[in-house]
């Protein structure tokens, strides 16, 4: 059994040499008392959930303990009543980082108050938005922070069993979690009678098998129970009747990773970061056509401009920044003129996007907004569970319309049809997946209606991205090197050596091979 003294002993034994080793490596520096990653990219970041990532060795529990790991659990178990823990988290105003932003404290309180012989706490690690890898990083680089957060949550609501539902596509995360759970059990930080307090808590890993919808709470529970991941209608609150009909709390990875920090430093400290209604930080996966892609953790309320330009360095290759997409298939596209929007739950909601789990995809002038909407709808159609009519039939029809628009086969009224379908699908679907699936369409129509109209009426793609609507032409810059003619798979290019070549539009299949091979950029897309 682990004791308070033992925990302090490990920390004191490990920390000095670890700090020394880290400073030698020149990757980290001190910011106040905290060791943080060095470099321009990290200057504007405030790392709470990611504080240990890329700093400690995730396979060594001692290194986690060295930076106050499991001290929050110690404090909760030995100094506080479960009700105090719930009150502290409630006071911190921590909100779910999985996307919806529901206050964690309120969730915990519901389960805490509900009397039952068995309760469960589930960590939702079924991160599935395309382009998002926040939770994956935490699981792979700081798994103990999640375990500690779960144990604290378990103590708070009166649960002795936790489950982590990880998507199968994250084998490394699974491995790291397995190691972490094993180490925590060996130390007695999980298991029976933790710190001699009589509190028992165990964690079991459950794997997904490739179904995005299982990130939805009720579908996730169906999956753990061994059924098709089809969301349940919300007849009861999960906090009252969840997994196997018992009170259950489902928290996202990042939410749980915040818990130990809040317990250690207090709710007041947490609320000093971020905005009044959305305190703390949020981790984003900044990806797409951005100069410095990667994970960023910033205080809530930071503007998109600061994130995309100051940290991300703006659009790649000097191209013009066009939009950023947040919230994955459930989110929306935010146009360039709203770049000064602060990033918090309320502000993003006002402009028809959502915070989401933290995917942030940067788009430049060559990104076609109709095509982007189609991409996300394609995803939603693939991942719809098929249970309810609007999601199963409606998203399919939306995708069909978007598909024909990008092929130049759109007809008058398609935009209105899309708007109508969007409204019905979002207002009538059973679960969050269906309710939010139209968001990428709604926002792109709202902010880029002219692009839709150009596709439908003028049969042209303003971003020059939709194959069916573009033409390759050879300009006067052509030096007659014949390379284009040689690579053309359909022999559509003719011309004599050292003379300007010509593309026969009737034969051209717009594969772009000539464009890629031209040494003098003499092929233009119109």
């Amino acid at each position: 059994m682990i004791t308070k003294e033992k925990l302090f002993e490990i920390k004191e034994k490990t920390k000095p040499s670890l700090v020394e080793k880290l400073l030698e490596g020149d990757r980290v520096e001190f910011r106040g008392d905290d060791l943080v990653l060095k470099g321009e990219y990290y200057k504007k970041q405030v790392r709470i959930a990611l504080k240990n990532c890329d700093i400690i060795d995730p396979t060594d529990i001692d290194e986690y303990i060295a930076f106050d790991g499991y001290f929050a659990l110690l404090k909760a178990l030995t100094e506080q009543e479960p009700g105090d823990v719930v009150a502290e988290i409630t006071e911190s105003l921590l909100r779910g980082r999985g996307g919806a932003g529901f206050p964690t404290g309120r969730k915990w309180n519901e389960a805490y108050k509900f009397d039952a012989d068995k309760k469960y706490i589930i960590c939702n690690a079924d991160e599935g938005d395309p382009g998002a890898f926040m939770d994956r990083s935490i699981l792979e680089k700081d798994p103990h922070s999640v375990l500690e957060g779960m144990a604290i949550g378990g103590y708070a609501i009166g649960s002795d069993q936790g489950y982590i539902y990880v998507r199968a596509e994250y084998p490394m995360a699974v491995k790291r979690l397995e190691i972490a759970i094993k180490q925590a059990k060996e130390y007695g930080l999980l298991g029976n009678n933790i710190f001699g307090t009589g509190f028992n808590f165990d964690i079991e890993l459950r794997l997904g098998s490739g179904a995005f919808v299982c990130g939805e709470g009720t579908a996730l529970m169906e999956s753990i129970e061994g059924r098709r991941g089809m969301p349940r209608p919300k007849l009861y609150r999960t906090a009252h009747k969840g997994l196997w009909g018992k009170p259950t709390i489902i928290n996202n990875v990042e939410t749980l990773a915040n818990v130990p920090a809040i317990m250690n430093k207090g709710a007041k400290w947490f609320r000093s970061i971020g905005t009044e209604e959305s305190p703390g930080t949020k981790v984003f996966a900044l990806v797409g056509k951005v100069e410095n892609a990667g994970l960023v953790e910033v205080p809530m309320g930071m503007t998109l401009r600061e994130i995309v330009f100051d940290i991300g360095g703006g659009a790649q290759d000097g191209k013009e920044y066009k939009a950023v997409q947040t919230g994955g298939p459930s989110g929306g596209c935010i146009p360039a003129d709203l770049i000064d929007t602060p990033v918090d739950f309320e502000s993003l909601g006002k402009i028809w996007s959502i915070m989401g789990s933290g995917g942030m995809v940067v788009m430049d002038e060559n990104t076609c907004m109709v095509d982007i909407a189609k991409f996300f709808l394609d995803f939603s159609v693939d991942e719809s569970c098929g249970k309810c009519v609007p999601c199963r039939e409606g998203t399919k029809r939306m995708h069909e319309i978007l598909d024909r628009i990008t092929k130049g086969e759109g007809v008058e009224g398609d935009i209105e049809r899309l708007e109508n379908l969007s409204k019905t699908v979002s207002s009538t679907s059973l679960c969050g997946l269906g309710q939010t699936a139209p968001n990428p369409v709604i926002t792109t129509i709202k902010y880029y209606r002219h692009e839709y109209e150009a596709h439908i009426k003028d049969k042209s793609c303003p971003a020059k991205s939709c194959k069916a609507l573009i033409k390759y032409e050879i300009t006067d810059d052509c030096i007659g090197c014949t390379r284009c003619a040689k690579v053309c798979p359909v022999v559509a290019i003719t011309g004599k050596v050292k003379e300007k070549h010509l593309i026969d539009q009737a034969i051209c299949i717009k594969c772009g091979a000539c464009y890629d091979v031209c040494p003098v950029d003499a092929i233009s897309i119109i």
Binding site: P233, G386, R397, Q435
Partner: protein, 350 residues
């Protein structure tokens, strides 16, 4: 009684706590459409047609999964609600064959009725259709996936009420299909042909095989008691020109909408030419029709004669599970006290 006060379509009501809005409305005579709900099953909320507007609750809510609450103000047919239902029906009919002219279920099809009620014609989105799949391996009924609207009633009845679990869902999303494991067909599944799935299918996807052509509006229904066993299930015989063409289980009886394979499908003998409708007596080696009086006379005189000539134990009686307990009791009583033998048994014991 613990009740809540609420307003539905402008009228005040007092309703028992914990009642679902759909049930509450149906009890007071407000008809909310639904394709996936069945009082006997756990609510699934999959067809989304029963959505209603609740003032101050934001988006629409399905009446089948929402419980009544104090002070609720519900609109079951507001403009918003009707529009949503129209759109959902449009989606369903867009992925459904328009062969009502030849469909056996025409006239008894909920999709047809609701499209009529909500003014939906052929469907706006008749593009890609669900993959066709037809299962005609069962001797009593057929399954046509192209007509299936995936309400899930058949799967849930088979699981929750019948406990057979012969069918389930296959794949997901637009590819979802009701199927037997590995698509091997009902004949090769654990299906017991009870037909309870057929009884709940709201469209023509699951159809009983019928020897006679008939339209749903031509039939007369007659409530009767199933005579196959002593349970006494209630059912409605569907007849056309005095000939039984189908059976529906009664929902307002103790069998609660369920039947077994015999009750549901075994009615063709009724109009079979070989069926005996009059007693026959053998005269000079030939069976000839006679009256009941004469038949009884023959039976009793032969019994008496046999008892005198060969004794009581020369009799043996076997009765049937199709008789009631009372009939069976009388039968054994007759054997034991009148004929004086214990040689009496019952087919259900075999």
């Amino acid at each position: 009684m613990n009740t809540v006060k609420l307003t539905i379509n402008g009228k005040q009501y007092e309703i028992e706590k914990g009642t679902f809005v759909l049930k509450a409305c149906s009890d007071i005579g407000i008809d909310i459409p639904t394709m996936c709900h069945d009082e006997r099953l756990v609510p699934s909320g999959s067809c989304r047609l029963c959505q209603v507007e609740v003032e101050g609750w934001g988006k629409l809510h399905t009446a089948c999964t929402t419980q009544v609450k104090e002070g609720m103000v519900i609109h079951t047919h507001s403009e918003k609600v009707v529009k949503a239902r129209q759109d959902l029906l449009d989606m369903l009919i867009s992925n459904h064959p328009l062969d009502c002219l030849t469909c056996e279920s025409a006239g008894a099809c909920k999709l047809q009725d609701l499209c009529y009620e909500y003014g939906i014609t052929e469907g706006t989105y008749r593009w890609e259709m669900s993959k066709p799949y037809y299962d005609d391996t069962n001797p009593f009924y057929t399954f046509d996936a192209s007509k299936c609207i995936l309400c899930g009633l058949c799967v849930r009845v088979c699981d929750e009420l019948q406990g057979t679990n012969a069918i389930g869902f296959e794949n997901r999303g637009f590819e979802t299909l009701v199927a037997t494991p590995f698509g091997e067909g009902l004949e090769n599944s654990t299906c017991v042909s009870c037909g309870n799935c057929v009884s709940v299918c709201p469209v023509g996807a699951l159809e009983p095989r019928s020897k006679m052509k008939f339209r749903q509006w031509e039939i007369e229904t007659t409530r009767t008691t199933c005579s196959y066993c002593g349970v006494g299930c209630q059912m409605d015989l569907k007849t056309k020109n005095n000939r039984v063409v189908g059976v529906e289980p009664a929902f307002d009886a103790h069998n609660e909408g369920l039947l077994c394979v015999k009750g549901k499908f075994s009615y063709n003998f009724l109009s079979h030419p070989d069926r005996l409708t009059m007693p026959l007596v053998r005269k000079d080696g030939v069976l000839v029709e006679t009256t009941w009086d004469e038949a009884y006379n023959v039976i009793t005189s032969k019994m008496k004669q046999t008892k005198e000539d060969f004794g009581s134990d020369s009799f043996a009686g076997l009765t049937s599970a199709r008789c009631t307990n009372e009939d069976n009791y009388m039968f054994q009583k007759m054997f034991r006290s009148t004929l004086g033998t214990n040689n009496v048994d019952h087919c259900a014991r075999l």
